[in-house]
């Protein structure tokens, strides 16, 4: 069974802290790993990772994939209260000629002022 596990499930930090969110997976026919940020409604796309060891960066957020050890991390430096959200990790895989995403349960990040 395809599985995506995120840790920690919940994290509370102070503004300015740096956080690392973890995502490990066990899937067949891996295509990609995606990070989404979910605030009140729909998940919004952050990063897509397909190759090992190549860091993707966007402002204070960065992410990297390790396809040998089957995990990814999402780093947020100098956190702000606006970073408070649930961060979802999803693995894109192919199955029977089509693609789908399998999501982890998310990490709920709370950044206090």
């Amino acid at each position: 069974e395809d599985k995506v596990v995120q840790s920690p499930l919940s994290l509370v930090v102070h503004e300015g802290d740096t956080v690392t969110l973890n995502c490990s997976y066990e899937v067949t026919n891996f295509r990609s790993l995606l990070w989404y940020k979910q605030e009140k409604k729909a998940p919004t796309f952050l990063f897509m990772l397909t190759s090992s060891g190549i860091e993707k960066k966007s402002g204070r957020l960065s992410s990297i994939l390790d396809k040998k050890e089957l995990f990814s991390i999402l780093n947020i430096t100098a956190t702000q209260t606006g970073d408070s959200a649930v961060y979802l990790c999803a693995v894109g895989l192919t199955q029977g000629g089509s693609e789908k995403l399998v999501f982890g349960k998310g990490t709920k990040l709370t950044v206090n002022p």
């Binding site: 990609s32 979802l88 999501f103």
Partner: protein, 115 residues
């Protein structure tokens, strides 16, 4: 930029009633996915369509059906509603690339409450 449009945003139904959710993908996107997200849960894949044909099926109950129309919009029909169907239903769309991975763009979701 145009996004994925879902309607209605909120829907309240009673048990055993029927509900229909609509999804309008980003223009030129050919693939639509439906996900169900219960309170405090991760999104669960229900069903997907590519070029108006069902391409994959997940944990969609038999009481639910869906289709993609000629204009690429999709509808999720839910019958004999149960309390456990109360959830946020997301539609996502993408352009399927031959061998590359796809980034899904999600709509804002339709919140269904079954009383």
């Amino acid at each position: 930029a145009a996004g994925v449009i879902q309607s209605p945003r909120h829907l309240i139904k009673e048990k055993r009633e029927t509900a229909t959710l609509k999804c309008y993908p980003i223009p030129r996107h050919d693939t639509v996915y439906w996900y169900q997200q219960g309170p405090g849960q991760d999104p669960q894949f229900l069903i997907s369509f590519y070029e108006k044909m069902q391409s994959d099926k997940g944990s969609i109950p038999d009481r639910f059906s869906a289709q993609q129309f000629s204009d690429y919009h999709s509808e999720l029909n839910m019958s004999s509603l149960e309390l456990g169907d109360s959830a946020l239903y997301f539609c996502a769309s993408t352009i399927r690339r031959g061998h590359g991975a796809n980034v899904l763009t999600f709509g804002a979701g339709s919140r269904l409450t079954v009383l």
